[in-house]
């Protein structure tokens, strides 16, 4: 009951309300992503108490993921990458004059997916935390390595690029005084870098400055809405739910699972769920022509993925996506260590977090409805006015963490590198995971080696540790194994002919 009191007070409720509006706005403006919304929020949350700070991040990310559907439906431009999987469907519906219906079902699926993911989080996290209490440096080392490996193997596109992006993040994590010897590494004589790279300017650079640069690098925007939206938002929703409730449950399950895997977030969850739905649908031929079924699958998945990503983040301190990576960065800076102990410390923090999740998802219903009615207002907000404001916010926000100009330089340099990587199709999620998990891998490796006197075989001496180690090795060998399997299959097929 402690948790209820932590949430139901004036400050937290006000923060949740403000964060909802902010999230809806950022999500609905094309070119601004949910991760960017969270990165922009961090300088402000840094000065709040823990509960309102986390509430702000949870609410913002959930709302932004839903709101990304709004420009997707009206303009065929996804507001956030998580909506990209099914913009085709919603836009096709909108062209038939059913824009509000499409957004209505999107909204209901988002709420359902979000709450489904939260329930899984509540049920699974608690019991996993009891297991995690038994973990030592060996297990955490393998878990972090597993997390980093997942971020490479699940990413869309070139694995080499994901690998290099990950290494860039790990390299950033090694800056500062070495934990064991106290020797300065890559500090270039700058005293501000002694304590290590500051997460927040890096995140602002990676996710906000990078997007700003690609906006200015692109041709000027022209947004005109040609879609008629005189239909009702919720009128047809009960019928769709009755027909497609199985898809909602399946989409949410897939979403939670994918979200919980490190490195894969809401966007990949939506793509996979959409693909699975299409493969299993009776009328898959209708996909792409404005089919509600595809929207149901993917729209439940992306919001449940947001909740699912918190499972490994809370239990093991291993982020499930870039948003939870930012959260873990914030928790570290506040002097809290995410991990199984936050379930046991009796502060009610964890229950407060669960309540925030449910509250944020329930509030999505009325606020989302308002947003659908006011869609045009969001979509037609001119980016040319918005982007300079965001830029100035980034500068002041980066400065605010330590009152240091070095952090502004850091944001600039990381932003430039991130922009160069992003235009060459390097994914960003592995980099941020590398930054957060790099020190976890290194510190656990070093303390394990100190304990056993440098005996590498000790990583396979404990049963859970050995199991995790084997899982990592299997994951790394999986491309080879799959190739060998295919080759063998082809050979037997040829032999049988």
């Amino acid at each position: 009951m402690n948790g209820v009191g932590l949430v139901l007070n004036f400050e937290t409720i006000l923060v949740i309300l403000a964060a909802s509006l902010f999230g809806i706005f950022v999500g609905a403006v094309p070119g601004l992503t949910a991760t960017m919304a969270v990165a922009l929020l961090v300088p402000l949350t840094f000065y709040m108490d823990t509960i309102p700070a986390i509430a702000a991040i949870v609410t913002t990310s959930a709302m932004a993921i839903f709101a990304g559907d709004i420009p997707g439906t009206y303009l065929n431009i996804p507001g956030t990458p998580a909506s990209a999987a099914y913009v085709g469907e919603s836009y096709a519906l909108a062209k038939k004059g059913r824009a509000r219906e499409a957004l209505g079902i999107n909204l209901v699926c988002s709420v359902f997916g979000g709450i489904f993911g939260t329930i899984i989080l509540i049920v699974v996290a608690q019991s996993l935390a009891e297991v995690a209490l038994k973990f030592s440096a060996f297990e955490y080392f393998w878990l972090a390595v597993l997390g980093l490996s997942c971020s490479i193997f699940i990413s869309v596109g070139s694995r080499t690029k994901a690998f290099l992006s990950l290494l860039f993040g790990i390299l950033l994590s090694t800056v500062g005084l070495d934990m064991m010897s106290g020797a300065p590494r890559f500090t270039f004589g700058v005293p501000d870098l002694m304590a290590g790279i500051n997460f927040i300017p890096v995140m602002i650079g990676m996710f906000a400055l990078n997007e700003l640069m690609s906006y200015y690098g692109s041709k000027s925007e022209k947004k005109t809405i040609s879609v008629v939206d005189k239909d009702s938002v919720f009128h047809n929703v009960p019928g769709h739910i009755k027909r497609y409730w199985r898809n909602m449950v399946r989409g949410s399950s897939i979403g939670t699972l994918i979200g919980a895997l490190p490195g894969a977030g809401a966007d990949i969850a939506a793509w996979i769920s959409y693909g699975v739905g299409k493969g299993r649908s009776k009328d898959s031929a209708k996909y792409g022509t404005g089919n509600v079924e595809g929207i149901v699958d993917a729209s439940s998945a992306n919001n449940s993925g947001i909740s699912g990503a918190w499972v490994p983040a809370l239990v093991f301190g291993i982020p499930g996506d870039s948003i939870t990576a930012i959260v873990i960065g914030v928790l570290y800076m506040k002097g809290m260590n995410p991990g199984p102990t936050i379930f046991m410390d009796g502060s009610g923090l964890i229950y407060a977090l669960f309540i925030v999740f449910i509250l944020a998802n329930l509030m999505m219903l009325p606020i989302g409805y308002m947003a659908i009615r006011l869609s045009k207002l969001f979509i037609l907000t001119p980016s040319r006015v918005l982007m300079p404001i965001i830029l100035c916010f980034c500068i002041v926000g980066a400065f605010a963490i330590n009152n240091s100009v070095v952090d502004i330089w850091l944001m600039l340099i990381v932003g430039l590198v991130a922009y160069l990587l992003a235009v060459n199709d390097f994914p960003m999620a592995p980099a941020i995971l590398g930054l957060v998990l790099g020190s976890v891998v290194e510190n656990n490796f070093m303390s394990a080696m100190l304990r056993t006197g440098g005996d590498l075989t000790s990583f396979f001496a404990r049963p859970i540790s050995a199991g995790l180690g084997v899982a990592v090795i299997l994951l790394w060998c999986s491309p080879l194994l799959i190739k060998a399997y295919r080759y063998q299959k082809q050979k037997t097929e040829r032999a049988s002919l």
Binding site: T174, Y216, L391, I395, G415
Partner: protein
């Protein structure tokens, strides 16, 4: 073609990282010193960069061979155009770092917002009003609510008359 340069870039970065890491001190009591992880990262950069470069060159040769077969004029693809305006945000940030101590944070961000808005052809009165209002809002939130010592600037005598 860009992948070739990206790969070479990573290989150079890898070599620099390894060389820098070798200069870190080692402790005789530790088998694994502070240079281990940076060296591993450097090695990873070299391997990943090499794979990327070779892959890109191989794809290019394959694509070129195919294109020549189909239509010899298509063998070289035109370079992709990138807007020069993407340098505007970095320039604005450098301007802030250099100018804010003299002009003060508030005035500097008004200038940045106003000029960036005009560059994208915003109506002048819209740009003026939004940049003044939003800069004041940001300045107020950070300096009064969060108590961040944003630079006041020497130009206006240390403080702005309308925000004390």
């Amino acid at each position: 073609m860009r992948d070739v340069f990206a790969g070479i870039g990573f290989m150079i970065a890898g070599i620099v990282t390894i060389i820098t890491a070798q200069q870190f001190p080692t402790l005789p009591s530790l088998q694994y010193g502070p240079s281990l992880f940076p060296s591993l990262v450097g090695g990873g950069f070299c391997i990943g960069g090499a794979v990327l470069t070779l892959n890109a060159l191989w794809q290019r040769r394959k694509a070129a061979a195919q294109a020549v077969q189909d239509d010899p004029t298509l063998a070289t693809s035109p370079p992709e155009k990138m807007g020069w305006a993407m340098v505007l945000p970095p320039i604005a940030i450098v301007f802030y770092i250099l100018a804010s101590d003299y002009l003060g944070a508030m005035l500097t961000i008004i200038i940045i917002m106003f000029s960036l808005m005009l560059l994208r052809k915003t109506k002048i009165y819209v740009a003026l009003i939004t940049s003044v209002v939003m800069s004041s809002a940001i300045y107020f939130i950070f300096s009064h609510y969060l108590l961040i010592p944003l630079p006041q600037g020497v130009l206006l005598g240390g403080s702005l008359p309308w925000i004390s």
